[in-house]
């Protein structure tokens, strides 16, 4: 995961404030703002299929960012993220169903509830490291899943529970077009919060714990606190993501939050780039779009000459799944550091051009 330590030419800062901004240059910042503005227009020209994909990328991206904070920034692998995602979904539904709390409020509250649960399951992090910790999170996955199917009062048991649509001032955001904005706001806010976190004290402490926990401790960082807290923060993100998911589908069922889903979350951040905030979103997009692209290819193929010649028919579904696996493998073989890394290299290339060598 070697980094390039070059400072692009033309990077002269005269004030420390200017050196700590989120966007290194004015142009990049303007581009980001423009990007968000363009996204605001999406519902006008995208159909529900695309909006749905964007919404999926949105809420999964928030949860993936949480996992990246835990895995990428703090170095604690978790294979139980889907359970926390699910907990957020159930919490939000429960809060709004049982207590009549408006959904707009229930979502952040669900985030807080999930944080608490996350910290509870983060306690082993004080003593466990690496894969031992990872398997402890696997235990969290199974224990929570079991809890979901048992706790009728909370989750509706195995039958699942309905979740109210998101509404604000009496306006219900129950279409893809309107819910898109809800997710967009959450994505922007959550990503900015994370960016801020990572450039301030506690974020740095998390990274320090990842890179060298022994010296981090000697630099005054309370390992137990930060390791547990990292679980908390990550669960908070998972909870928010899950809550958005719940109010989008308006139905939550235990079935959705399996270990495979947890592994998919891991896939998102590894492909996006560990320890990269924007990478989380890119990785999510990759993992969400990959099956869709493969499906599109499959659809395009079926009925064509190739299909007829090879008699794909039944095979095609399996070939598609195999292709998904293969793309993941190939991607990692050629880009083991993730999308964010490639993105950085592209940027560096252009900045340093023609002196890229």
């Amino acid at each position: 995961m070697a980094n390039i330590s070059l400072i692009p030419c033309g990077d002269f800062k005269t004030r420390y404030a200017a050196d700590t901004t989120i966007f290194p240059t004015r142009t990049s910042r303007n581009f980001a703002i423009l990007g968000v503005a363009l996204l605001l227009l999406c519902p006008a020209f995208m159909d529900r299929y695309w909006l749905n994909l964007c919404i999926q990328i949105g809420y999964l991206g928030i949860a993936a960012l949480g996992l990246n904070i835990l895995v990428g920034f703090t170095g604690q692998i978790s294979i139980g993220h889907a359970a926390f995602f699910g907990f957020g979904a159930f919490s939000s539904a429960w809060l709004s169903n049982s207590f009549g709390i408006p959904v707009a409020l229930a979502i952040p509250l669900a985030g807080v509830m999930t944080t608490a649960v996350g910290m509870l399951f983060g306690i082993p992090a004080a003593r466990l490291k690496g894969l031992y910790l990872a398997i402890a999170t696997l235990a969290a996955q199974y224990i929570l899943q079991d809890f979901f199917s048992r706790a009728d009062w909370f989750t509706g048991g195995t039958a699942g529970t309905i979740a109210e649509p998101f509404s604000l001032f009496g306006y219900a955001f129950d279409t893809d077009e309107s819910f898109f904005y809800v997710v967009l706001v959450y994505v922007v806010v959550m990503y900015i919060l994370a960016t801020n976190l990572m450039r301030s004290r506690d974020g740095r402490a998390l990274v320090a714990v990842r890179d060298h926990y022994l010296s981090a401790e000697i630099m005054g960082i309370n390992l137990t606190k930060y390791r547990t807290m990292s679980f908390g923060i990550s669960s908070f993100y998972a909870g928010i993501g899950g809550a958005l998911y719940a109010h989008y589908l308006q139905f939550v069922s235990v079935e959705g939050f399996t270990i495979l889903f947890s592994i998919q979350f891991l896939g998102m951040i590894i492909i996006g780039g560990l320890g990269s905030i924007m990478g989380s979103l890119m990785g999510t997009a990759f993992m969400v779009l990959l099956p869709e692209v493969m499906q599109a290819i499959t659809t395009a193929l079926s009925g064509t000459a190739i299909d007829a010649a090879l008699n794909l028919r039944e095979a095609i579904a399996f070939l598609r799944e195999m292709a998904i696996g293969l793309v993941i493998i190939l991607f990692l073989v050629f880009e083991p550091d993730g999308l964010a890394h490639r993105w950085k290299q592209i940027k560096a290339y252009w900045k340093l051009y023609p002196f890229s060598h």
Binding site: D47, R48, Y49, L51, L53, D176, F251, V254, E255, Q295
Partner: protein, 404 residues
């Protein structure tokens, strides 16, 4: 102008062992309909998509189908994952959703039933609900107990994973079992994947269970059957609709011998019924030679597709093939069978307030004798595997059972 129709199937995912034959049945039937006049002369534009039993993919696919100009008139769906996730959406978008998920709550279109859950006005399925299937088997079991001259109360146990699908009929079944005079034992759980379930069988044996419901899909049911055979637990197993079929009987071998399960059609492949002729024709869509053996799910898939087709026929004549019209089309007749499939599909009735289509459940017994190496075709032909109809049970449409 074609009628766009969506078809979600699981060909590669966790439930593909039953998803493949069912999906094939649906797809072949739709293709056959198109070849033979379509819906009142208009052909359907069917897109079959394998979603690998992953809800998010089902949702994206649904969004594709439900938006824009190509909005589908109806969808042939598949399992618990997609059906549950989409129930709300199809209700709102008014797209009839025919699925292979038979959870009781999908039979309550208004959500006003005694066990009121979310309304499912656009969900249809062909077959007995999981609960009704289990009720039928319990009624049969009560009889069976008497017939066999068992003394005392028979003991009943619900088995399955703690998941939406195996659990769907759990309470309904235990309730009825009590009413029928069973001694209801605590439910026994086993995962949805194959594994070692010797422990479960040992406890069954120790508790002296007489009748056990297997709520899972075939893969893990086989493990239970085999383990119980090994430890010698003498239990009459009753399988779920999806929990037992020709393939499962083959895989479980002699352990599957004697298992009871509901079959949705009035006749199975090779059976004698007027409608079988069309079924054979349909089968040729994907098997030109016409030699393949088609398991029970395939035939059920055909019925599912044909009910939709007839509702579309009605809709076409009454204001156009739109979701709401197709839904109305489903309500037009009583105890009806799609034209041409007489004796294959079981007469069913849907009403605006009650989507429990079937009130007669056919129970079959799997008879397995000897070694089950070789293909299902051969085994059935040789009589090694035989599905034998043992009863047709009336499950009345009691109002208190609506949506349960």
């Amino acid at each position: 102008q074609k009628i766009p129709v969506g078809h979600l199937a699981d060909q590669s995912g966790a439930t593909s062992d039953v998803g493949v034959p069912f999906g094939q049945g649906v797809a072949d039937a739709l293709a056959y309909i198109n070849k033979n006049g379509g819906v009142g002369g208009t052909t359907m534009d069917v897109e079959t998509v394998d979603y690998g039993y992953q809800a998010p993919r089902a949702i994206s696919q649904y969004k594709k189908w439900s938006s824009g100009s190509g909005k589908v008139a109806a969808i042939q769906g598949w399992g618990t994952a997609d059906t549950e996730a989409l129930t709300g959406f199809v209700g709102k978008d008014e797209i009839p959703y025919y699925s292979g998920s038979y959870s009781g709550h999908l039979t309550d279109p208004t959500g006003k039933g005694p066990h009121g859950s979310k309304p499912a006005p656009y969900n249809f399925f062909y077959g007995p609900s999981y609960s009704d299937g289990l009720r039928a088997m319990l009624m049969w079991a009560a009889d069976d107990w008497k017939k066999k001259g068992g003394s005392g109360k028979p003991k009943y146990v619900h088995m399955g994973a703690n998941h939406p699908y195996p659990n769907a009929p759990k309470e309904a079944g235990e309730q009825l079992a009590k009413e029928l005079g069973f001694d209801v034992l605590p439910a026994v759980q086993f995962a949805l994947t194959p594994g070692d379930y010797t422990a479960q069988c040992l406890t069954l044996k120790q508790a002296g269970a007489n009748y056990a419901y297997l709520g899972n899909t075939a893969g893990s049911n086989i493990s239970v059957l085999k383990a119980c055979q090994t430890v010698g637990a003498q239990v009459q197993f009753m399988g779920n609709v999806w929990g037992m079929d020709e393939n499962a009987a083959k895989a479980a071998g002699s352990a599957a011998n004697g298992v009871i399960f509901p079959v949705r059609t009035a006749a199975i492949w090779g059976g004698d019924a007027p409608g079988m002729k069309i079924v054979k024709e349909i089968s040729k869509v994907s098997d030109a030679a016409g030699t393949a053996y088609r398991p029970v799910h395939y035939v059920s898939g055909i019925c599912s597709a044909f009910y939709m087709k007839e509702a579309m026929d009605w809709a076409k004549q009454n204001g156009g093939v739109t979701g709401p019209n197709i839904r109305k089309g489903m309500y037009q007749k009583k105890d009806w069978v799609p034209a041409g499939l007489e004796g294959v599909c079981v007469p069913s009735t849907w009403t605006e307030t009650d989507h429990r289509g079937m009130d007669k459940v056919n129970l079959y017994r799997a008879n397995v004798t000897g070694d089950t190496g070789g293909s299902v075709d051969e085994l059935v032909k040789a009589g090694t595997i035989k599905l034998e109809k043992i009863a047709t049970v009336d499950v009345p449409r009691k109002p208190e059972w609506l949506g349960w």
